[in-house]
Amino acid sequence: MSAVVDAAPPSAKPATDGRDARTAWLLTAPALMLFVGVLVIPLAMTVMLSFHDWGQYKGIEPVFILKNWHEVATDPYFAEMFWRTFRIALLTTLITAVLGAPEAYILNRMSGRWKSFFLLVILGPLLISVVARTLGWALLFGGSNGLVNKLLMSLGLIGSPLPFMFTETGIVIALAHVMMPFMVLSVWAALQRVDPQIENAALSLGAGPFTIIRRIVLPQIMPGVLSGAIIVFSLSASAFATPAIIGGRRLKVAATLAYDEFLNTLNWPLGAAVAVLLLVALVLIVVGSNALIERRYAEVFR
């Protein structure tokens, strides 16, 4: 079969090659132009902006200096803020993975009607604005009289109210809730590819329920968990609304800092440097971990 396919075209290829390539370029041109116009050009301008100078009274000066980058690299304030950003993103990713993977697994084992109902419950929040959902959390956290603190205290888990507002804990909890659907969907997609008889096969070979989960199910949905983790991590690291509302002015992350530089300090070049650094760091992390995952699972999942 493949031998025939391989053997036939070479004689016909050179004649059509040039025209095929032209047609391909022509057909992709509109999308390509849109891509260049709304993504590549603004991005390039942002990168250029990060090399411009800025002063309180002179505004933006289109020169090429490394002042902003030097400031971002040496001022420990930025280092702390970036570490916080990635710490929050990592914790959020861990929580969504630990809770979302079992959630997807349970969902997948439910029978017809319940499955669609709970899928709607999980995906429903995506229909509501992130701002509205985060404000909901702010109401629940709200100071020492917040519902969450009242509940925890009445359960006897804590003696005195915990601070949630303007803390990393609060941001992580609210972000984990916002990001959960992405993890569940990703794991769910991986579960769809698992042979429904495979657990019975392991069972018949003498494996207990815990062994089946650990040795049969988990390795097979791991690519789903990892791709879900990449989505959640990059969305959490660049999240704006949730850290802005829960963290406020006191607890800045990369996205809220860039926002403040742009709109409050009006130091656009410095904001651009922060934004570009966040972008580059995220791209490196995502591409790097994606390559690792692909190498790890190339043999098994294709």
């Binding site: 495979i198 019975n200 096969a201 018949s204 070979l205 494996a207």
Partner: protein
């Protein structure tokens, strides 16, 4: 005799009875097939033996002890699934070794048994392959090896060959039969393919709508079908109307211009059932005309329009001249080759 015993087993899903009154005893080393159309309850029965489903009524016993009280993981049965259900993240050897690991078999013994079992199914040298990189036939062999390596008391096969192409399926049938004979493993095969059931089994359980229609050797079920369903499901068959005339003595069975001495018992209108390969062309008998003649290599298939309706005739291609299309013929058969039932009895 009785190694595995199913005693009036039934399974209900809500109000729907999927399997009813299923009783069967299987001897040690026997190869039994559950044969029937889809939805006849054969897979449900297999899953009850495996323990994935609990019977609503009845008992399943293995060597005299109640199997339904045993966890599926502790039953020690080998199962080959229709989809094979191989572990895609493990190599062939790891797949096969899984059952031994669960039994805490020492590592060196485990490695030796995995190697030997893979060699037995013809996959020596494929130990490190992942299932995705194997053909359907090879995956099937891994699944078989995985089920056999734990030395199961009973091997359950759930339509294991249905995903293979015709030629490979035939090869695997022969191989499966040889392996089963050599190991002497009691085996239950679920299939909807009558050829597969007949060529592999010691006995066939023909099922329809959750009930057993007949239990017998392949020959018995083919030659002496217990019901119209069995005769139609196993191979081709001709059913046509005839009458038994008891006014004369001795009584005669009459079908058009064919007649024979009537057997004892029935009287009046009856249905005659006869296999197409048992009908011959003769000088006397049922008058018919050949409508179409189809050459099928080792045999000819004739579709005839007779006095009693459409009749199929199969003749061996033994080099003799065969009647042509449109030719008028007489159909004859030996009375002992047909079976009779009262007309109107379940078809």
């Amino acid at each position: 005799m009785s190694f595995l015993e199913l005693d009036r087993v039934a399974k209900q899903f809500g109000a729907q009875t999927v399997v009813d009154d299923f009783s069967l005893t299987v001897g040690k080393g026997e190869f039994v097939s559950f044969l029937g159309p889809s939805g006849c309850g054969k897979t449900t029965t297999l899953q009850m033996i495996a323990g994935f489903l609990d019977p609503s009524r009845g008992a399943i016993r293995l060597e005299g002890r109640d199997l339904t009280a045993v966890q599926p993981a502790k039953r020690g049965l080998g199962i080959v699934f229709q989809s094979y259900a191989l572990f895609p993240h493990m190599t062939a050897a790891e797949n096969v070794a899984f059952g031994l690991e669960m039994r805490r078999v020492p590592r060196s013994e485990c490695r030796e048994r995995v190697r030997a079992t893979l060699a037995m199914v013809g996959l020596a040298g494929y130990e490190e392959r992942y299932p995705r990189r194997m053909s359907g036939g090879q995956q099937q062999r891994v699944a078989l090896a995985r089920a056999l390596v734990i030395r199961p008391s009973v091997l359950l096969l759930d339509e294991p060959l249905s995903n293979l192409d015709a030629k490979l399926r035939e090869e695997m049938q022969i191989e499966l039969r040889q392996i089963q004979r050599n190991l002497g493993t009691t085996t239950i095969l679920v299939t909807h393919d009558q050829n597969e059931a007949m060529s592999l089994s010691d006995r066939i359980v023909v099922m329809s709508q959750g009930r057993i229609e007949q239990i017998g050797t392949p020959q018995e079920t083919y030659e002496r079908p217990a019901s119209a369903f069995v005769s139609q499901f196993l191979g081709k068959t001709n059913d046509f109307a005839a009458t038994i005339d008891r006014t004369a003595t001795p009584g005669r069975l009459i079908a058009g211009s064919w007649s024979a001495p009537a057997p004892a018992g029935l009287a009046g209108p009856v249905t005659v059932s006869i296999r197409p390969e048992r009908i011959g062309f003769g000088d006397a008998g049922l008058a018919a005309k050949i409508v179409t003649r189809i050459f099928q290599g080792n045999h000819w298939l004739f579709q005839c329009e007779s006095e009693c309706g459409a009749v199929i005739v199969i003749r061996q291609n033994d080099g003799q001249p065969q009647p042509a299309e449109g030719e008028a013929v007489r159909l004859a058969w030996r009375p002992e080759d047909m079976s009779l039932r009262r007309a109107g009895a379940a078809a």
